[in-house]
Symmetry: D2
């Protein structure tokens, strides 16, 4: 099967290239770009010399549709929408990394991103988190891949939300992310190595737009929630660790909660629940599509602390795209995604 | 005036050397150690060649008392207690970096550290946080320097605690620390560079012993509290950023809260309150005794998010010791501590 | 085919696990250890939970020989020799990561490592660098995998050495390595994150034992040489960049030299020669078995500067082992090694 | 005395602010900028809030001359020349961080930087390396501060060059620098944290313009030389470690060479020669104006390996400026520069 990528110069794009080069069922036959048109991918990403020397073409949905069965869009919000529409109309399956189709509520979208570019397409979009929407993903042609923070937070809290075990009025999500989450092409002084090194900082405290995805998905599982979310950038390249704090409605033990998590994720190929007394480090997931989750309860209280980790560029982005592709195209769900984490 | 240091090989000790070498009123005349006896300090810390070539002596309170006016103890809990007792009896002023005299409750101490080594000395010890206890520090001979996490958390929340503006039943303190906080001489695989790099992890979630210091000090200011505290190690050397989440009892605006913080810290030489809309990064404090605090309120809610930063080895340890020394010895409170942060 | 590993707790071992888990022709059926006997591999390496839960057994060549076709030894020098001997006698193919069989000269070995543990086995050992010894590797049962520094230096200089184009009396090899090259289990203060971070240092200047491998292999290609080698540790986890400085016997242009390199490595699946004007960064090879080489000539002189990069744990260790396994066992040479570099 | 700074937004500027704030004899009374006019310095450098809230003014030599006794220029080459001329004519002392007045040969300058902006001022400029030109620095009004790489390389090789002990036809200087050396305001993808982290790369191999400074200064000491210089960026913020390789004309021992170095630097307040068998790490100099030098000889050869370290922003830039100011203005040479290195 033939795959095309719109937007190959960023981190989502290059990670997608790496994963697809190792995928047994597909080959990359189209790469669309803008500033890099006419260059081989290996000029933008020299580590791929001899592995992916395909030329970048001016973004053109017709060429892509003609030559590809599936299309990935790794673009800023709104930019890819006309091409996505055309691809869907031509019967192609689409995997979109932007925020355009993640929120089912147009109002919620507009609070963060402005005018919605294609409200009519929302009905067919599915939030591309197979752990919550596997059957819907299988059936759709338009996967809206989740934000990286929401993936880590939703997987951390889903079993508790579904069981309606926690108070929903004060739910703290404190995430720590590597700086690749800020992308490759948007520069800011804070990402300049000498400034970013030996530096941790919070940003968008309480107002980050990814909170809406968390509210939507956790609310769908159980009761309406409103998380208090603060992301932080820390001096590392990849990985997210999310620490979530919730208040249980009734007494429970860590073992009881972990049993619930184990059940919830029993058949998941990429989610691993840690044994009691162990929490995962971000590094566990490095370079893989895996998510690790651990939890504890503050002794003598009903305060539960859940820690989840993912690689923000894989389970948090490109790997999630490949996982949805596998489901939507009838491949083995784990095809191309079985690589073990890279350590150290 | 002459100063002595017990325990010079660790990060607290070497930072103390650096600060005292730059202090206008004192000189280091005694350095006590154990495994390094007979070596010049500059053999343990080669960066000090030609600046501090004093020989390390076997720890001996008599020699120290004879040659020094003030004594710093940068040792594990309990180890220095007999020497501290002797120094106090000889009329020397003592600055203790261990946890032995931080908690006024013997019960609280024993929950975390085992049998208390000198409950009779607790009455004369003062928690060495001048922002809360300046007069008491001036009057004591025994300063119990705070833990690094408590300093950042207490300064972050003190104005709210004092005003009794927040609910005390769910108060989240999520701290991110550089790895120097783990010390220099206690090794663990998690501190080995290839493991620690590109890694963030929580530890002691909900059970870290520093939480008791936060509870004690915030409780003294206003109502009894029980924080939910989770520290994290992130891949940097120095610095702590604490993100605290609290629930206001009544509606307020960020400007109102910031006004309260500005008042509370109006005369503090080392605490800087950020303007509305700005949060500090850990790097702001790097290499200095300064603490920066910013805050916001999640729109439409009563959830307040406070961010504070310090250099864990200075305001969080050695600098706090020098600040207490200045107060206890009648020097200018800022002597030796006016160095601007090192950037980048 | 079944594979066994002696020494799974270090970085060579865990990287071998990762590569072999992704290898289409083999499975891991035996893992031998010492301090970790009885634990699943996933307890030592938690990132492998659910992927490699095999129990570590006490190192036992009989069990390994019975259950495995090939055996990897990722142990300190000398430790594995008796087991290697037994495995060879039983007709098993052996891949040894230690230095025991790299140097064909017993005298050279003894200068660096002391008494040679098995001089009688040297005759059948082949230096496991397929780019220089592919046919011999295919034919042997005992591959002595090169040191990580020698791999980068020899590949950087082989085309010049073979062509006898450079003076051999002053040949400088200056290497910069990530700290994983120091291993996982040997701790030193210099590897402690707060000490290793923001630190570069040379070590073993002019006397590092890996220089003998470089001398041996470059000498075999052309004239006898004696390199001046200084390795440096820099604050990163993985990767080696080697900068080699040589003096040409006659005038040449960069294009001429690059042409020679292109010819020399024309059929190599893992060596990439950069175009004129471009030098590789260490990151190009990160997470892959690839080696990138670039060069230039100082204008107006005969001084050539060659830069090569590898991932020290893959092409410099575990990947080289798998590449030799593929050759010795008749698999496709690239099986299990086609993964693209991980970026960023 | 009153000091002015042109160009305060970069790393040279902010480090100068830090050092001058701690200097006992001067105060900053003028700060000139361009894009930041009207802002307090503490808005550009928030870590200085409350310490340096002076407003940035449009660069104006008249205002600066009127209000300041000395002027620092931390600007790109050529930009500050007209203002420097005016300041000199008004009798002010000038410290210039650009390359404009470092090279006494107009031809050498033009090879690297294009047309020389003020050849007539060259005669009064002095290369601001007190270790080689102390008396001349004292006597001049125009100090041309050295490049950071040249400072480390010249100090490493000066005693050998002066003694004419080394062959001058093949002299290798391999430097490793933290990324702050690339400045704060010139962005490149290679400085973006996710790209710069876990990455080492050579740049300008054999053609870096700093080589001309090394040739000039080492040549002045003894025989004409032409170094082969390759700088590398490594993933750290501050510091340079230079490894220099030279060929002795006659046999010598490390002790003999170290004796010569000790003599050469006997009265230097900021240069420390390591004992035999020890080499410095870059971290030794971190945050200080110190330079550490160690060396060895490859056994059985005449190849000498010298390692020097400095903090690129202090001894390699701002500290050198303050040191020259102290000499030119009759202060104690070490005033404001006695701070011990920051560790870890």
């Amino acid at each position: 099967m033939n795959v095309g990528i719109f937007g190959v110069s960023g981190y989502g794009g290059v990670e997608l290239c790496r994963l697809l080069l190792g995928h047994p069922e597909v080959r990359i036959t189209y790469v669309g770009g803008h500033a890099t048109v006419g260059q081989p991918v290996s000029q933008i990403h020299p580590q791929l010399r001899g592995q992916l020397d395909l030329l970048v073409e001016a973004s053109d949905p017709k060429a892509a549709i003609e030559r590809c069965d599936f299309l990935f869009f790794s673009l800023e919000s709104k930019v890819g929408v006309p091409w996505i529409r055309e691809a869907l109309e031509a019967g192609r399956k689409v995997f979109d990394f932007s925020a355009d189709f993640r929120l089912s509520s147009v109002e919620a979208y507009q609070r963060h991103y402005g005018e919605h570019p294609a409200p009519d397409l929302l009905a067919q979009a599915v939030y591309g988190l197979p752990e919550l929407h596997r059957d819907a993903v299988r059936a759709t042609s338009l996967a809206a891949l989740p934000g990286c923070y929401p993936t880590s937070a939703i997987l951390a809290l889903a079993p508790l939300a579904q069981a309606r075990m926690i108070h929903t009025d004060f739910l703290v999500v404190d995430s720590k992310s590597g700086i690749s989450g800020a992308g490759r092409t948007k520069w800011a002084l804070n990402y300049h190595f000498p400034e970013a090194n030996e530096r941790v900082a919070a940003y968008s405290p309480g107002v980050h737009r990814h909170a809406s995805e968390m509210d939507q998905e956790l609310g769908l599982l159980g009761e309406p929630v409103s998380v208090t979310f603060t992301p932080h950038l820390i001096p590392m390249t990849r990985g997210i660790l999310t620490t979530a704090y919730a208040l249980l409605k009734e007494d429970a033990t860590p073992a009881e909660l972990l049993g619930r998590y184990a059940d919830f994720y029993a058949d998941e190929p990429f989610v691993e629940v840690m044994p009691e007394g162990e929490l995962p480090a971000s590094k566990y997931a490095h370079g893989s599509n895996r998510c690790f989750i651990g939890l504890t309860i503050q002794p003598g209280t009903r305060k539960v602390i859940v820690v989840s980790v993912i690689d923000n560029l894989i389970k948090g982005q490109a790997g999630a795209g490949v996982q949805c592709m596998n489901l939507m195209c009838g491949f083995d769900e784990t095809a191309g995604l079985t690589g073990a984490p890279v350590w150290p």
